[in-house]
């Protein structure tokens, strides 16, 4: 059956429709990684978006048990060139198409994805609709931006993951739609993690007694969470804090900085980021539309410590005096590289030291660089119970 991707700017791209019929609206974004489709469709940060895969063959290794980033596919729809109907891998349990079909997510295949990307590159990330009706009137797209995606993906209950051992670092993960891999890394580094719904964070934090906080990634515009910014500031001042992606943007906003929307977001596995301390460049996994503006850091007590090599944008910042640091990219990879995984190691080591009575600034010095953890080892299976 024929299907169409229609952009708000008027273009229509034809393809073959797979999955349940209907009109599916979303912001149309593209992902440039050559692997990792399973992680992409299940990453809560992609909530509500129609993802165009630039790599032309999707589904090659099927869908497995361990590489989901959340409980369910999150995307509003996917657009691609070709998909393998079988999927070949020893871990594969389902095909890509079937996985999405059973979850009611539409797939448009046979699309000239390169032209779609070129269009997005020209006009920016743009609302669109996936539909089977060619002359379907373009719906009102404003709802996409008004909707609060974060509330849809963030958990509503507190959850404990990991052992009850009181001597290991306890991280409170304030959830805006976290990726499972972030938790996996923390667990692998020997932490215990408590997932805290962001709305309950201030109210429950005392009783949970975490040693440090991690502000997670999540979908959409950080400014949708303006009412929570003061609370976030209070929390960050009270606990060693690490922010990732949306969490990073929220920290900037909470401390007086500003964010803006990129013309088209960074979504892929090859964003070069420079560590301004060492000058070293690493590849990073990214998925975001909004960035912290560099000028606005002047209003805060943060210093920029990571920069995007391509467009110069802010990729990370560290507080001048407090143990607060954050990065725009995903140091946990999945999908993509984890070249700066030391960010987690540093964070956890610092907390460990504090627990043992020492203090050190987060990201400020490298003295607590850990020796021998192998954090990339991705633990199979789900590390937490189904909500």
């Amino acid at each position: 059956m024929k299907g169409y991707l229609k952009l708000a700017t008027g273009e229509t791209y034809e393809g073959t429709w797979q999955g349940s019929q209907g009109d599916f609206c979303g912001e149309v974004v593209f992902f440039t990684g050559m692997t990792g489709y399973q992680e992409v469709i299940s990453d809560p940060s992609f909530r509500g978006q129609i993802v165009v895969f630039t790599y032309p063959l999707i589904g090659n290794y099927g869908i497995n048990e361990s590489d989901f980033e959340s409980f369910r596919p999150q995307v509003a729809g996917v657009v691609l060139s070709e998909t393998d109907s079988l999927g070949d891998h020893w871990q594969s349990q389902n095909t890509f198409v079937d996985e999405l079909k059973t979850r009611g997510i539409p797939i448009l295949t046979g699309v000239d994805t390169r032209s779609v990307v070129q269009r997005i590159r020209a006009v920016g990330d743009i609302p669109g609709v996936l539909t089977t009706i060619q002359d379907q009137a373009t719906p009102d797209f404003h709802s996409i931006y008004k909707r609060n995606w974060i509330k849809e993906v963030a958990s509503s209950q507190i959850q404990n993951i990991g052992s009850g051992n009181p001597h290991i670092p306890h991280i409170g993960l304030i959830d805006f739609g976290y990726k499972k891999s972030i938790v996996n890394v923390l667990i692998d580094l020997g932490c215990k993690v408590t997932i805290i719904p962001f709305e309950k964070a201030e109210a429950t934090i005392e009783s949970l007694k975490p040693d440090g906080l991690l502000l997670s990634n999540g979908p959409g515009d950080p400014k949708q969470l303006s009412p929570y910014l003061e609370g976030i500031e209070r929390l960050a001042l009270a606990y060693p804090t690490l922010g990732i992606c949306l969490g990073h943007q929220l920290l900037a906003l909470a401390f007086g900085g500003d964010t803006e929307k990129l013309k088209f977001g960074h979504r892929g596995a090859n964003q070069p980021v420079q560590d301004l301390q060492t000058g070293k460049v690493g590849m990073t996994a990214q998925n975001h539309s909004y960035v912290v503006t560099e000028e606005s850091l002047g209003n805060t007590d943060f210093l920029m410590n990571f920069r995007n090599v391509n467009d110069g944008s802010v990729e990370g910042m560290v507080h001048k005096t407090k143990e607060i640091a954050s990065v725009q990219f995903h140091p946990e990879g999945h999908p993509g590289p984890a070249d700066f995984q030391s960010i987690f190691t540093d964070f956890v080591t610092m907390i460990q030291h504090r627990k043992e009575g020492h203090t050190a600034g987060v990201g400020g010095t490298r003295s607590y660089l850990n020796e021998e953890a192998d954090p990339t080892q991705c633990k199979g299976g789900k590390v937490y119970a189904e909500a």
Binding site: T35, D88, H334
Partner: protein, 1055 residues
């Protein structure tokens, strides 16, 4: 970071002659590196004795030494040039080994030469298998159980411990030469024996076999600041067990999950960091298809064949960036030359798929062992880019220029199933085609997966292709509808194949296709999946989607057809010619377009032409580009036989071809027409007749007179030619090759005279001949395999005048402008024309370089209609210089078990070297490169008719201190040779170094001895000239760069 202080002059070591395992990729890498160094203001001194390369052009390096790649000659050059730095990681294994030697002998230290890029310790850790294993243990990275052995006994002990199958790999060899799988003791003994011999350090690795795992490679780069990136990863379709050089490879990997992809990437970065590589590095993994287990196979701490492939697959110029890193730059300081807005510190993202397919020489050597293993056998490769794998495979197969119709190897549908399975279970060069045929015969994917270990994912693609073939067959051309044709095109089916299935003409399919408005679109290779705007000139065709770039219609455009994959008979020399043609056309103000499909070459560097189309060189693919671009004219004279054979179709399609037409080609390539042409202009040719059946053959052979030479027409590289000295031999030949003789067949008188050749520039009226090449071997040894000298050293001026006279007559009588090649034979004072090639030839780059004349540049101007007189190069035969240049062939027979090293009319060499000196003796001695040490043992086997000649040679060999041995009593006694009782035993003895095997004309005796000598790593010489050339040593001469030689020559005019 500014570049290192104090590096003003850099010595670059090239990779030398093309051999299997070390081919044109190092010309590409070396050229990029030299240009990058020059861009940074360094003076480049290059040592490389391979004349066919672009890298040895005066535009690429400041001083070029065509000197032997030995420590001795390098030391002399270092002493003379006093370079500040040495760049050795871009000259393949040859360059790396030499750098190690120079270091170990403290020559670098003595002259204060800094090794740029990766340091010696890292190189050793990567290259020395034991050091590498130790490092892996240290890093806690898995390598298969193994042991380094220096004796057969050690190997046997290890086998008892670990069990079979085992894999044997000699240290420091190219293309895995001398290695293989041993399933039992006997095989182990043979492999270890030959392996120890092949290894320059007499070590072999004996290792547990992990055949069947997925083989995955990563191309990694690292700068001094420890920033690391992986440019690309690649997955071999053929699992571990088949050398990556012999595997069909796809990029990026297709069956790895993101977790696997980034796990192996992370290990790659860990290793390159531990090694401390500065520049590029290749890392090979084996990944269990059924678990998370992986192993390291090897690391190459240098650019490689795979890095050339990765550069072309992604658009990321690895060698260029590696050269800059070696000067101290950081990755994030270097601009990505494709996007120009981003930096080299990123990892390309592909929005297409790439297929590399090896090109093997077995079409020329059907008698060779065609099985594939850990020892590379391919001479070259092709690459294809498309948006899906099916069509990429199709493009790759089309680019191979093998005898296939679409995806079907000619005749394979007749093969019994057993033969198909043989080629599948024990991989051979025909495995891909045999798999497709089995799928056509309804063998399930699952069964093939079990037998081959090839991932189902790939087999499913093949099955899809076979199913589409079937669908196509069910369609009729008359009732064809656009959507049906579109699907077939989208999955890569060519007009030609469809036409053959539908019983129509290729151009009819083309016409209908255009009526349906089905034309390919051209997409850009931009390194970033369209995320950023790019300005690349690098395109591929696809049957889906829109065009990326609109062609420029304001300028006049000329298309240059490249020469496709490197194969025996059509090597890197044509790439040299293609590159020069492009540069010359640009200088004339044309917009240049090039089509080629060889990822190893300079011609497919997208910075060369105004536009590069990475496409198969078939009529359809070429016409599509011509239609899209709107091209004024096409150059076919520089792309070898590949380009020439496209001319007929181009002409029919109304395309203008520069300087030559099909009728002229026919007149030269069709022997009957050729003889008539020669007679018309009264130029003597070798007597020859055409036979139409077997009886005719016997009759006409008699008429021509024995010995005769049989030849099929329209071939390059003398394929299928044989010399037969009597009716008896002919009859035997007819019995032996009953089915393979195809009539009509051509019979020439075999004239064992002196062979000579010229390359001629002409405007159709005047000619310019830069020099005559005279062959040392008698006619009968293919011109590509002969040792040849320019200027001629024995021809009389009468003969030379006659040559020029014939040359002029030929040039005037042909409808031809540009460059062509004439081969002559001189016998008893008579001069005959042997053959004329209406195109540039193997000798063009040599003559261009040693005489300092841009022959292709001139040829291009002539093709464009300029008069020769207007070029300022003079006319006639250029004055002979005061020095001699010898070209010597280089063989890869050690990599091709079963190929007789006997020289004959069938070309066998893969590469060549040159040497320049004041005397023929010296230049020839240096070019040959064979050194006899006192005590070396040489086995002699000589036909009775040749004993007299042997006398002379044996005296010289004795004088050199060699010990001559033989197992024939009479012969041995006659010449006082040391008797040996068993040849095979002798072969394994320590001092065995050479076999001299000289038979009578067309004699194939002694083949067994020659083959086992090759297997045991001995030199085999079958022509007296080969032997004499290194014995009659000339006066030692100081190495001189080519520029110096040319200056010696300056001031001399043309007569």
């Amino acid at each position: 970071m500014p570049k290192h202080e104090g590096i003003h002059k850099v010595l670059v070591i090239g990779s030398g002659p093309i051999v299997i395992g070390q081919a044109a990729e190092f010309d590409y890498a070396g050229t990029q590196a030299c240009l990058a160094l020059k861009e940074e203001g360094c003076k480049v001194v290059l040592v490389n004795n391979n004349p066919a390369t672009i890298m040895t052009d005066d535009r690429v390096a400041d001083e070029v030494y065509f000197e032997p790649l030995t420590v001795d000659s390098l030391e002399k050059i270092i002493a003379k040039e006093r370079p500040d730095g040495l760049l050795a990681t871009l000259g393949g294994q040859t360059g790396l080994n030499l750098a190690l030697d120079l270091h170990n002998k403290e020559i670098l230290l003595k002259y204060g030469v800094k090794l740029l890029g990766t340091d010696i310790d890292s190189i050793m850790k990567g290259e020395d298998r034991e050091a590498f294993r130790a490092l892996m243990h240290e890093l806690n990275e898995p390598v298969p159980e193994s042991e380094i052995v220096a004796t057969v006994e050690e190997a046997l002990r290890f086998a008892v411990e670990i069990g079979y199958p085992l894999i044997i790999r000699p240290a420091y060899t190219l293309g895995g030469s001398g290695g293989g799988f041993a399933h039992n003791e006997e095989e182990l003994i043979e492999l270890v024996t030959s392996g120890l011999k092949a290894s320059p350090i007499h070590q072999c690795l004996v290792e547990k076999s992990i055949a069947g795992y997925k083989e995955v490679e990563y191309e990694v780069m690292r700068d001094e600041n420890d920033t690391c990136i992986t440019v690309c990863n690649m997955e071999n379709v053929d699992p571990v067990g088949v050398h990556t050089g012999d595997s069909i490879v796809v990029a990026p990997s297709q069956t790895l999950t993101d977790t696997e992809y980034y796990k192996l990437r992370e290990v790659s970065l860990k290793i390159i960091r531990a090694l401390g590589v500065i520049g590029g590095c290749n890392i090979q993994f084996a990944l269990d298809p059924d678990s998370t287990q992986y192993y390291l196979i090897e690391v190459n701490p240098r650019v490689s064949r795979s890095s050339a492939l990765a550069s072309k697959a992604t658009g990321y110029p690895i060698a260029k960036i590696a050269a800059k890193l070696s000067l101290g730059y950081y990755l994030n300081e270097l601009i990505n030359p494709v996007t120009r807005g981003t930096y080299a510190s990123f990892e390309p993202s592909l929005d297409y798929v790439v297929v590399k397919f090896p090109r093997w020489p077995f079409d020329k050597f059907p008698e060779a062992d065609r099985t594939l293993g850990t020892q590379m056998k391919a001479t070259g490769e092709v690459m294809a880019i498309e948006r899906n794998l099916e069509s990429a495979f199709q493009k790759a197969v089309r680019s191979l220029e093998i005898n296939s119709n679409g995806l079907e190897l000619s005749g394979i549908n007749q093969w019994p199933e057993e033969k198909l399975w043989q080629n599948v279970t024990q991989a051979s060069d025909q495995r891909f085609f045999a798999i497709l045929e089995l799928l056509r015969r309804a063998v399930p994917v699952e069964v093939l997966h079990e037998k081959t270990g090839i991932a189902r994912f790939f087999l499913n693609r093949f099955e899809e292709l076979v199913q589409l073939e079937q669908k196509a067959r069910e369609l009729s051309f008359a009732a064809l509808e656009a959507p049906q044709l579109w699907v077939l095109k989208r999955y890569g089916f060519s007009d030609a194949w469809l036409a053959s299935v539908w019983g129509t003409e290729q151009l009819s399919v083309r016409r209908k296709r255009k009526v349906f408005q089905l034309v390919p679109s051209y997409k850009m290779v931009d390194t970033c999946a369209a995320e950023f705007e790019a300005e690349s000139a690098y395109y591929y065709s696809s049957w889906s989607g829109q065009n990326d770039g609109k062609p420029n219609f304001n300028r006049k455009k000329i298309l240059v057809l490249g020469s496709g994959p490197i194969r025996i008979g059509q090597g890197v020399e044509f790439d040299y010619c293609s590159v020069h043609a492009v540069q010359a056309l640009q200088a004339e103000g044309y917009e240049t377009i090039i089509i080629n499909n060889n990822p190893e070459t300079v011609s497919t560097d997208y910075t060369l032409a105004d536009r590069l189309y990475f496409e198969p060189l078939t009529l359809e693919d070429v016409l599509n580009v011509i239609d899209f671009e709107g091209i004024e004219g096409v150059v076919v004279q520089v792309g070898g036989q590949t380009a020439i054979s496209l001319m007929e179709g181009l002409e029919k399609a109304g395309v203008s071809v520069l300087g030559v037409d099909q009728q002229t080609v026919n007149e030269l390539e069709d022997r009957d027409l050729f003889y008539r042409f020669m007679e018309k202009i009264q130029v003597p040719h070798i007597p020859g007749l055409t036979a139409y059946d077997s009886k005719d053959l016997l009759d006409k052979a008699c008429q021509v007179g024995y010995p005769v030479l049989l030849r099929p027409s329209y071939v390059i590289g003398g394929r299928g030619m044989v010399i037969l000295s009597s009716q008896q031999e002919l009859e035997q030949y007819m019995v032996d090759s009953l089915s393979s003789i195809s009539y009509p067949i051509l019979i020439d008188a075999y004239v064992a005279g002196t062979e000579a050749e010229v390359d001629v520039l002409t405007d159709g009226e005047e000619v310019l001949v830069p020099g005559i090449f005279e062959h040392m071997e008698k006619a009968g040894v293919h011109s590509g395999d002969s040792t040849a000298v320019t200027p001629s050293f024995s021809l009389s001026s009468v003969i030379k005048d006659q040559m020029m006279d014939y040359t002029k007559r030929i040039a005037r009588a042909m409808n031809f402008k540009g460059i062509f090649n004439i081969q002559f034979v001189v016998n008893e004072g008579h001069l005959y024309v042997l053959e004329i090639n209406p195109r540039a030839s193997r000798t063009v780059p040599i003559l261009s370089k040693v005489y300092g004349i841009d022959m292709i540049g001139a040829a291009v101007k002539l093709m464009l209609g300029n008069q020769l007189a207007s070029l300022g190069t003079g006319t006639g035969l250029m004055a002979e210089p005061g020095y001699f240049t010898t070209k010597a062939p280089i063989f890869s027979t050690i990599k091709l078990p079963g190929v007789d090293p006997l020289l004959g009319p069938e070309m066998k060499s893969t590469g060549e070297v040159i040497s320049i000196a004041h005397s023929v003796e010296t230049s020839t001695y240096k070019a040959t490169g064979i050194v006899i040490k006192p005590g070396d043992e040489i086995f002699c086997e000589v036909d009775g008719a040749q004993w007299e000649h042997f006398k002379k040679v044996s005296d010289l060999l004795n004088d050199a201190g060699a010990i001559l041995v033989s197992d024939q009593q009479r012969f041995g006694r006659c010449f006082g040779l040391t008797p040996v009782s068993s040849y095979e035993e002798w072969l394994r003895s320590q001092h065995a170094t050479m076999l001299i095997s000289v038979g009578g004309t067309g004699n194939t005796d002694g083949i067994e001895k020659r083959l086992s000598a090759v297997r045991n790593g001995l030199s085999v010489l079958t022509e007296w000239t080969q032997i004499e050339s290194f014995l009659i040593a000339g006066k030692a001469e100081e190495p001189e760069p080519i520029g110096r030689w040319l200056r010696i020559n300056e001031g001399s005019g043309v007569y």
